[in-house]
């Protein structure tokens, strides 16, 4: 690990100001992804701002019946929260399908959203990667790209976003709240929070330099039957090959979000609109424009089969 200096932040705005004052700075909360990347010298911050002592670790009801989840709420606590279990079960399920018990005890809500891709070429510092070193090229394009994205890709990057939690948050129309160095705050719809790779895959979110995530807000519960179906190479403690988050409502209404397919959680209006027509119609709509590579062609069929299974289970429940 490269040497860095360390400080403990005393307020969100001061943390943001410290980050702007130190261009090589990173915030650290759970640290489960950042420290891993620092050991591999993929991340080489010169200064760490420890935000763990900030008062951002509670889940509170909002005035309109939704939930404000503090940025530091640990994944275990969010998954186990009574209201999340009851009203946003898809979020509990997504969280519990991710990582291990130890990691969920440490990983935070904001950190989960901000985690980096697990593309093996991003991790391999001997290979070119536009995300790790802009302009060097993408080794995944012609490499072993079985786990890479098939939607919203670019000629510069086919990495996926690895989070399960973010897929559920996208399905629930969450909003990300932030604070900037000047103390001003803003709310970013989660659909706009993560970016597609385009020509700048190193820029992954809408956050400005130094901007600190303070909370994620969920709108009022919409009821319905919540499902998170994750397909992976082993039964536990593995990233998704693909995942489907769904909420089935009344009158054949449903909404869908997908993990493992793109640089961000994938959700389209067309897929939601096709809900009444069944699994295949939803798959057709969601996969419109899919661009597969040599090794990940199977993902389109896997999406179809997983949707068919989600629908079949829904019928049994109904």
């Amino acid at each position: 690990m490269k040497a860095f200096t360390y400080e403990r932040a005393t307020s969100p705005a001061k943390a943001a100001a410290a980050a702007v004052a130190n261009p090589g700075a990173r915030f650290i909360a759970g640290g489960t992804n950042l420290l891993d990347l620092m050991k591999l010298q993929i991340e080489t911050p010169t200064h760490l701002i420890d935000v763990n002592r900030l008062d951002l670790d509670t889940v509170r009801e909002t005035s309109d019946g939704g939930l404000r989840i503090g940025a530091l709420v640990r994944n275990t606590d969010l998954a186990a929260h009574k209201k999340v279990r009851r009203d946003y079960a898809v979020l509990s399920r997504a969280l519990l399908s991710g990582a291990s018990g130890q990691l969920r005890n440490k990983a935070t809500t904001a950190g989960n959203l901000l985690q980096r891709t697990r593309c093996p070429y991003f991790y391999d510092t001997t290979k070119p990667c536009n995300k790790r070193r802009p302009g060097t090229g993408c080794a995944a394009l012609a490499g072993f790209n079985r786990n890479m994205a098939i939607l919203g890709t670019s000629a510069d990057c086919i990495a996926t976003h690895p989070s399960d939690m973010a897929v559920a948050m996208r399905l629930l129309d969450a909003t990300v709240e932030t604070v900037a160095a000047d103390g001003s705050s803003r709310a970013i719809p989660i659909a706009d929070f993560h970016r597609l790779p385009g020509t700048t895959p190193d820029i992954e979110t809408a956050l400005a330099p130094g901007e600190l995530v303070t909370a994620v807000v969920l709108p009022r519960p919409i009821g319905g039957s919540h499902v998170y179906r994750k397909v992976r190479d082993r039964a536990s403690y593995a990233f998704a090959v693909i995942s489907v988050a769904a909420i089935f409502g009344k009158d054949s209404n449903a909404r869908f979000a997908f993990g493992g397919l793109a640089h961000k959680p994938w959700r389209t209006e067309a897929a939601d609109a096709a809900a009444a027509a069944g699994a295949n119609a939803v798959a057709d709509a969601a996969l419109a424009g899919a661009k597969t590579t040599e090794h990940n062609r199977f993902k389109t069929d896997l999406v179809r089969r997983t949707l068919a299974q989600v629908y079949a289970q829904q019928e049994i429940r109904a």
Binding site: M1, A3, F4, T5, Y6, E7, R8, T10, A18, N22, I28, G30, G31, T32, L35, D36, K39, H47, L48, D50, N52, T76, A79, A80, R85, R86, A89, S92, R93, L96, S97, A99, S100, G101, Q102, L103, N105, K106, A235, S236, Y237
Partner: protein, 210 residues
């Protein structure tokens, strides 16, 4: 080597029992310091390890795992992958199991940390340690301290009603072998002592119920 920060801090620890005996828990606020060229910033911190306050002065890069093993010589906690993938470094911090390799010691200033040495001793074993011996829950033993710390916390998590991926009804959390297998998936055993590990944990869970 003589002048390296690691050698200095090790000497400070070995130099006398003062460093290891109860020191006032000072939750010093670590302010930003610009490291002078070529010199590593060192920061004082106090950890409460197995019930005792321990004051250390650390390079900020020191993980909790390295602080325990290299500075406090509590070598029961093991370094396996050092990337949070194997679980050999699992310790219990403020009542929760975490991977000590993926966190900085400085992030735990004032925290209560329990390692395998704090759970029990050869003469006075923790029920989970005894159950692992009874059921042969290991072969080489390298992953065992992490397995045992994790297992103790798993039973607490089930008791607290925290659901898992295999919990059918999120509001009805109960002990089962399937729950143990899912919850222990962050602890890898290369010798594959898994059936005996599950048996040991089941034994303790049943003992607690009785």
């Amino acid at each position: 080597m003589k002048d390296s920060p690691a050698a200095l801090s090790r000497r400070a620890v070995l130099g006398g029992s003062a460093a290891l005996c109860a020191a006032p828990a000072i939750h010093a606020s670590a302010n930003a310091q610009t490291a002078p060229t070529g010199k590593t910033q060192m920061i004082a911190t106090t950890l409460k390890v197995n019930g005792k306050d321990v004051r250390l002065t650390l390079d900020p890069r020191t993980t909790l795992l390295d602080a325990l093993r290299e500075h406090l010589h509590l070598t029961g906690t093991k370094k396996g992958c050092d990337h949070g993938q194997c679980g050999a470094c699992t310790v219990i911090v403020e009542g929760r199991r975490i991977n000590s390799c993926l966190t900085l010691a400085l992030m735990h200033d004032g925290d209560d940390i329990t390692t395998i040495e704090g759970l029990g001793t050869p003469d006075k074993m923790h029920p989970m340690q005894r159950a692992f011996v009874t059921h042969d829950g290991f072969q080489c033993g390298y992953c065992t301290p992490g397995q045992i710390c994790s297992a103790v916390a798993v039973l607490d998590e089930i008791e607290a009603g925290i659901p898992s991926h295999v919990t059918e009804d999120l509001d009805k959390v109960a002990f089962s072998d399937a729950e143990v297998r899912e919850r222990m998936s962050g602890n890898i055993c290369r010798c594959a002592a898994y059936p005996n590990i599950v048996a040991a944990i089941r034994d303790v869970a049943e003992g607690e119920k009785a």
